[in-house]
């Protein structure tokens, strides 16, 4: 039924892998490998397939009078708001094929966002994730990845089957060949994520003793939990040189929130990981690719901070991989803003083969050359109203 989509996915993965070497070039040079023409051709093909196979998406396109016949360039492809993932089944998979569901992690939401997957789409997910992760998180490491001690500050996959973040960390763990004990988080009785501090401290200390650098992956709030714990117990861990931290996401009221500059300064202070080895990630349940803040920007910030003798705001210029495109669009006009202006982040992610490629996020960003700076999220109350995913409406309208 989805032969064309499967064929597309295989070609996309091939294109990503074939250009893996090119991807290893410095980020500033990595405009490609999906140059505009190639991206456009992939995007238009995928749009036509999703229009055909994703019923919920097709209805949105038709309401806007957009069809594969009217779309001439990837920039015209209709983007779907992330909130639509809560109400619609935005997928090309038939119900029996949906073996994995990623849910958004907001704790206060009544309806989670849902991104349907199975082995085939997860293979595309992994194919997109790994080379960009490797280039952005591992490229600067002055050691082989085999020496690396991985620590994921989330529950393990069997406890968080619906978390795309945990899936991401699990993919990384498997690629690195790290043991399953790399996951040092757990689910508390109220469903919230906590840390197994004993296991975490033991792992950090062992890393210190064996001189094997650590790679810590976690959400900003899990790092706050860790830092608070270290502060309460008056502990400092000086991780070996080359250790690295990747932090992602907001706080979602799961811990006290703090400015990035303060978070990074505390990570440096308590864990001995210098600012240039702290990488920010931007990703979401609705996408299959991730953006990372480019290290060179952070070097600049670190130098500024030293010269001005106080903490400068950490400026993270995020970049998605070349098989995606990002637009920062004016909330007023829907058109792309000029460099330096603020707008809503819109992502065209070719790796979203079996759902929807064009995703309109609720996040605000400032357009910066080829990347963007993350500003926060548009205030979005839960909107009452019929859930369009309910069977009655699905049967009646779709």
């Amino acid at each position: 039924m989805h032969k064309e989509l499967s064929s597309f996915a295989a070609r996309l993965c091939g294109a990503i892998q074939a250009r893996d070497a090119a991807l290893r070039r410095p980020v500033s040079a990595a405009r490609g490998p999906c140059q505009d023409l190639e991206f456009d051709s992939f995007a238009l093909e995928l749009f036509a397939l999703q229009f055909q196979h994703n019923t919920a998406y097709r209805k949105i396109c038709e309401a806007r009078n957009n069809t594969p016949e009217t779309i001439e360039h990837w920039t015209q492809i209709p983007a779907v708001p992330t909130a639509a993932f809560k109400e619609l089944e935005l997928t090309c998979w038939a119900p029996p094929e949906r073996t994995v569901i990623f849910h958004s992690s907001g704790t206060t939401e009544q309806k989670p966002s849902r991104h349907f997957h199975n082995a085939e789409s997860l293979a595309v997910y992994a194919a997109s994730l790994w080379p960009w992760f490797e280039q952005n998180v591992l490229s600067d490491l002055r050691f082989t990845i085999y020496d690396l001690r991985l620590l994921c500050l989330t529950p393990p996959p069997e406890q968080a089957r619906h978390s795309s973040l945990v899936q991401m960390f699990e993919t990384v763990r498997q690629k690195l060949g790290a043991p399953e004990t790399a996951f040092v988080g757990q689910i508390a009785s109220d469903g919230s994520w906590t840390l197994d501090f004993d296991a975490l401290l033991a792992a950090l200390n062992s890393s210190r003793v064996t001189r094997h650098p650590s790679l810590l992956l976690g959400t900003a709030f899990s790092f706050v939990h860790l830092l608070d714990y270290l502060a309460e117990n008056n502990l400092r861990v000086h991780l070996p040189p080359g250790s690295c931290v990747m932090e992602t996401g907001g706080y979602k009221n799961r811990s006290r929130s703090m400015p990035k500059a303060e978070l990074h300064a505390l990570i440096s202070e308590r864990l001995g990981v210098p600012g240039e080895n702290i990488i920010c990630e931007y990703g979401m349940n609705e996408l299959s690719s991730q953006a990372y803040a480019v290290t060179s920007d952070k070097w600049q910030v670190a130098r500024d901070a030293v010269s001005s003798c106080h903490l400068s705001p950490v400026t993270c210029h995020f970049h998605f991989p070349p098989w995606t495109r990002v637009q920062i669009v004016s909330p007023e006009t829907g058109r792309e803003v000029a460099d330096g202006e603020t707008g809503l982040i819109r992502v065209y992610d070719l790796a979203n083969v079996f759902s929807v490629m064009a995703v309109q996020t609720e996040d605000l960003g400032v357009r910066r050359e080829n990347g963007f700076e993350l500003m926060g999220r548009a205030r979005m109350a839960e909107l009452r109203g019929c859930s369009l995913m309910s069977a009655q409406i699905a049967n009646r309208k779709l």
Binding site: A56, K59, I60, E62, A63, R64, V80, P81, A83, A84, E87, L88, S330, P331, E332, T333, G334, T342, G343, L344, Q360, E362, L364, M375, G376, A378, R379, M380, A381, L383, R384, G385, C386, L388, I393, K397, L398
Partner: protein, 455 residues
């Protein structure tokens, strides 16, 4: 803005307020009140207030001109929106209206001046005098200037020394009003202080809280709870929490000619202060069965909002607010594509206005800035069932219905918890005698002394 340095809010932006400065300001205010205000007659205060208000209505008035010239940049409101909002407020401040307010609240116009008796009190050989708090503090929310304006007016009537703490960045219009009072009567102006800082600055706020005899506060329920918890037990606290409002249109008035007229009145309510006041409607409930259906009414409202955008534009919004509207529109667009039970109309190439029709009648909080819902309900009972989620939080219900029916609706609405019922088109323009959140305007401020005669 080149204004004399009368108030703390006139200090350069980089100036930092200290607890010592505030403590000194409080002492000065109390001293000035004793000298200049405590002994004034109500009549003289009424005269100053009504003269100042009348001056604000004149096109050549300095403060009005400043408000309109700098207001769009300072407040985000367009000039026509500012004009209408200011005119609506200052038109209310007349001698007659102030007189009516005093009589409504205190039974007699000279109740604050001397032992006074109403007819009934005379018959029972009684008299009474009412006195305001010596030192009154207002903690004003930032959305619209009316609460700060009204607080100052009421505080002057009861002869209180007043400190108005504005939300950060929202002092522009209250500051102009304070200056206009100072210019009209410097001694009266010397009993008033204005400052702004980001709420939650406990060092500054504790000074005020320790000095105040009475505190009024508008803001979120969390803000009010936080203030209340930090007050000494003796301090009177008047909190005005978050409220929402909605409209109701009865089928009888939805004729082919009546529909557009009512849509125009709803538009008045939606564009007034860009819908940011607690009295502005989030939802307009429309009864089906008239010549104009609820869906058609939503369309008429959209037409009218578009027309009004030409004469009374909403003005620019900061990106996060515009993003909230764009994001919300996004989800309704998706719903509309999948179900005829959702319809959307909106301004093109801007977030200036949005109308959402939803068959689902449950109350929905709007993101405001001219974003309004139209929902069908068959009658008041169904309406109230669907508004249950905001019960106890509803300020105003604007009604368009035949007169007898509108009056009949008022009692069930009151019993349900609504504190104000008014004609659509007047929602954001209450009379001076309005009882804010159902509480007496002056009555909550004063303390009475009763005299029982027959010694």
């Amino acid at each position: 803005m080149n204004l004399p340095n009368y108030f703390l809010v006139d200090l350069p932006r980089e100036a930092t307020l200290s607890p010592v400065m505030l403590a000194e300001a409080c002492q000065t205010l109390k001293r000035n009140r004793e000298r200049y205000l405590a002994g004034r007659s109500t009549e003289r205060i009424v005269n100053v207030l009504s003269d100042v208000a009348e001056a604000w209505l004149r096109p050549d008035n300095t403060f009005r001109k400043l408000a309109l010239e700098l207001g769009p940049a300072e407040t985000g409101f367009s000039i026509p929106t500012l004009k209408r909002g200011l005119d609506d407020f200052f038109r209310q401040i007349t001698r007659d209206n102030l007189h009516a307010l005093l009589v409504q609240e205190l039974g007699a116009p000279r109740r604050l001046d001397a032992m006074t008796a109403t007819d009934l009190e005379q018959k029972t050989s009684r008299a009474a005098v009412a006195m305001g708090p010596e030192f009154l503090v207002h903690i004003a929310a930032g959305n619209i200037p009316n609460p700060a304006f009204m607080g100052i007016v009421l505080g002057l009537l009861v002869r209180s020394a007043q400190f108005v703490k504005c939300a950060n960045g929202s002092a522009f219009l209250p500051r102009l009003f304070a200056h206009s009072l100072y210019e009209a009567d410097s001694k009266l102006g010397a009993c008033l202080e204005l400052a702004q800082w980001r709420g939650g600055n406990t060092d500054l706020e504790n000074v005020l809280f320790a000095e105040a005899d009475c505190i009024t506060a508008t803001g979120s329920d969390e803000t009010l709870a936080s203030i209340r918890s930090r007050l000494p037990a003796r301090t009177r606290f008047l909190g005005y929490g978050h409220r929402v409002s909605f409209g109701f249109v009865a089928k009888e008035v939805l004729s082919h000619s009546g529909g557009p007229r009512i849509a125009s009145r709803v538009t008045d309510d939606v564009v007034a202060w860009n819908q940011l006041g607690c009295l502005s409607p989030h939802v307009i409930y429309v009864q089906p069965g008239g010549e104009v259906s609820p869906e058609r009414f939503a369309e008429l409202l959209a037409d009218e909002l578009e027309r009004r955008e030409q004469t009374e534009p909403r003005g620019e919004l900061p990106a996060p607010h515009a993003a909230t509207i764009a994001t919300r529109r996004g989800i309704y667009e998706v719903r509309a594509a999948h179900s005829p039970e959702t319809l959307m109309w909106h301004s093109k190439e801007s977030t200036a206005w949005t109308v959402i029709f939803e068959a689902d009648a449950r109350f929905q909080t709007s993101c405001l800035n001219r974003f309004v819902y139209v929902k069908p309900v068959k009658d008041l009972t169904e309406l109230l069932q669907n508004a249950e989620v905001v019960r106890g939080k509803v300020s105003t219900v604007g009604v368009a219905a035949p007169e007898h029916q509108a009056e009949e609706l008022a009692l069930p609405l009151a019993r349900w918890g609504v504190t104000r019922v008014c004609p659509l088109g007047q929602m954001q323009n209450p009379p001076l005698t309005w009882r804010h959140d159902g509480r007496p305007a002056l009555g909550d401020l004063v303390t009475w002394t009763d005299l029982e005669k027959g010694f």
